[in-house]
């Protein structure tokens, strides 16, 4: 019986998701024009669903103070108030409004994850591109350095660095970004190696182009697609890193609401069958799936791969 009820709700959720995705695609195609419109109109439903989710998250993140019924950090009631009309998702261990914190969490979490991932990609890609393009000792040196860094378990490395430099949001972003950038470096280097052997790069070299032009104008446009695909996955690994670090007591500082830490703070509840921690965890999972749906679609479009 319970299983049937689950199936019922799953079916309804799926139906609503499909309808919403379809609706979003129709609306999006209606308000855009040109190439974009054509692309949107033909986007698969999974991708439009992903875009819808990302769109909603962005709106929520930007308009958080307008949407949230209560402030992010203020204690507004007693602790653990159940779901009610006033507190939609109840209150947390300190009596802060859960729903409002979820909304502010969007802003903080997505912001931090995006900044971290972007930074990791900046560092990793720049060095990866350099290593593969220049080759020689630079490539050897950077690759060995990355080997060494990857040989140190990332969580423990992060733990060490955060303990040394403190746990402000800025250091958190920097540390995770630096550690993550080693993975990006590897990918960027591998992809670039595939590009630098192309004749057009040889032609550019023979033309006497400098390194900067080679990398920014000739190589970069050709390596963005796989990097973007990795971006989607790395993006969600940042949430994981943050919540694993908050498990070890080094995550984002309270009272800032972020989903990774909120999962951690409320995780114990799940062992009593309380679904509260599923909310932030689900929010992360939904975003991850959404981002990857869109990335998959973009990759498909970019490569023209017919699977």
């Amino acid at each position: 019986m319970g299983f049937l009820i689950f199936l019922f709700w799953a079916a309804i959720t799926l139906g609503v998701a499909i309808a919403a995705a379809w609706g979003f695609r129709a609306v999006a195609a209606a308000v855009t024009r040109g190439e974009m419109r054509r692309a949107l109109r033909n986007a698969p439903l999974t991708a439009s669903f992903g875009m819808l989710v990302i769109f909603i998250y962005l709106v929520v993140a930007i308009l958080a103070p307008l949407i949230a019924p209560f402030p992010e950090r203020t204690v507004v009631g007693s602790q653990f108030i159940p779901w009610s009309a006033e507190h939609w998702l109840g209150t947390d261990a300190l009596g802060r409004d859960m729903f409002s914190r979820m909304i502010y969490g969007t802003r903080n979490t997505v912001g931090i994850a995006f900044a971290t991932t972007a930074l990791a990609f900046l560092i990793g890609s720049v060095f990866g591109l350099l290593a593969a393009t220049v080759g020689g000792w630079l490539d050897q040196g950077l690759s060995r350095l990355v080997d060494v860094m990857m040989a140190i378990p990332s969580l423990i490395f992060a733990l060490l660095l955060l303990t040394i430099f403190g746990t402000s949001i800025l250091t958190l972003i920097l540390v995770i970004a630096v550690i993550d950038s080693t993975r990006v470096f590897r990918l960027a280097r591998a992809v670039t190696e595939g590009v630098v052997v192309m004749d057009y790069i040889e032609a550019a070299r023979l033309r006497g182009e400098g390194l900067g032009y080679l990398i920014t104008r000739e190589i970069l446009p050709n390596v963005t697609a796989p990097l973007v695909a990795e971006f989607g996955l790395r993006f969600c690994f940042v949430f994981l890193s943050i919540s694993a670090l908050s498990f070890l007591g080094l995550g984002i500082q309270p009272p800032t609401a972020d989903w990774g830490s909120m999962v951690r703070e409320n995780a114990t509840l799940i062992t009593f069958g309380d679904i509260t921690p599923l909310l932030p965890a689900g929010a992360i999972a939904l975003l991850t799936v959404a981002v990857n749906f869109v990335v998959d679609w973009q990759l498909y479009r970019a490569s023209g791969l017919k699977e």
Binding site: L248, I284, N292
Partner: protein
């Protein structure tokens, strides 16, 4: 074969170099951590006198480089020193039982995760773009985005509270294999769920990458079944990327599972490492860092050797 041995020897050489640099980084980082063992172990009760006395007793008042070279010299003779906390107890002895536990859990989880991931990966590649594929893919992405401790708690709620499996994976001395497997099931399952998704996605990608190859079309035009096309024709050529992702995940199972160890009270190396870092017990931190780095180096090397062995072009040169 000779070139494989040469490659292995060369990579091992680089591996040693890596270990050396890792030891410097870890030593330096531990040194940069605020406070030292004496302060950490005394905690709130620290007085300057007691701290100074502990430092003197353990030689922590020596300059950094002296301590590093003492340590390095010892290691080169196979002596990892003694723990600062458990004086008289060699680090190697302290680590040994936990190392066994860590390997046991890693192998246990890998034994479940690797076949599962490869099978699923092959299946979703076979039925690509089907409903099964989409469901598996979305589930995998969701699974990846759940923190491990959260997965662990859900499993405890579902499987331990109902009494099927113990929520604590402590290992009684002298437990037989069956009991060990039973007690460590939940942590192993947690890790399985955590790593399977990644390996599955990579397996799928590696296989699908090959499906556009002319030899795959050829196999299909020879009238081979889709399953045979995937397993017999695509899979052998996808071994290199798959071996790579498996190696990365195995390394993770050995080096990255501190959170699962904490949740299931499993005495593995990760917990020991984190504890030792927080107590600044440098010899232990160093030894474990070396083990982790060596695991990483060796697994990657193994993956590369497997890639080479699986590639006739590298194995049978004309």
């Amino acid at each position: 074969m000779a070139h494989i041995w040469r490659m292995i020897a060369q990579r091992l050489g680089f591996g040693l170099l890596t270990l050396f640099v890792v030891s410097i980084i870890i030593f330096g980082a531990t040194e940069l951590l605020p406070g030292d063992f004496a302060q950490a172990v005394l905690g709130q009760a620290a007085t300057p006198e007691a701290v100074a006395n502990i430092r003197r007793e353990l030689g922590l008042d020596q300059p950094v480089y002296v301590r590093y070279f003492d340590w390095l010299f010892g290691v080169m003779q196979g002596d990892f020193g003694t723990s600062l906390a458990q004086r008289g107890r060699p680090v190697s002895e302290m680590i040994m039982s936990r190392l066994g536990n860590t390997f046991f859990l890693a192998i246990y989880a890998a034994a479940m995760a690797v076949p599962l991931a490869l099978t699923l990966g092959v299946l979703v590649a076979l039925w690509r773009n089907s409903l099964f594929d989409r469901v598996a893919n979305s589930t995998a992405l969701s699974a990846i985005s759940f923190p491990e401790f959260f997965v662990a708690y859900i499993l405890i709620f579902v499987l331990a509270q109902s009494g099927y499996f113990p929520s604590m994976a402590r290992m009684p001395a002298g437990a037989d294999l069956g009991e060990k497997l039973y007690r460590a099931f939940l942590p192993a399952l947690t890790l399985t769920l955590v790593v399977t998704a990644h390996m599955m996605r990579m397996t799928r990608a590696a296989i699908i990458n090959l499906l556009a190859s002319p030899y795959i079309e050829m196999a299909r035009l020879k009238g081979m079944r889709p399953s045979r096309v995937i397993i017999r024709h695509a899979l052998p050529n996808a071994i290199a990327p798959i071996a790579n992702v498996v190696a990365i995940n195995l390394a993770y199972l050995i080096t990255g599972v501190v959170v699962v160890e904490v949740v299931f009270v499993y005495p593995g190396l990760g917990q020991l490492m984190v504890d030792s870092v927080s107590r600044r017990d440098i010899p232990v931190v160093q030894a474990i860092a070396l083990i982790f780095a060596a695991a990483y180096v060796l697994l990657n090397l193994t993956a590369d050797v497997i890639s080479t062995l699986s590639n006739p072009r590298l194995m049978h040169r004309t």
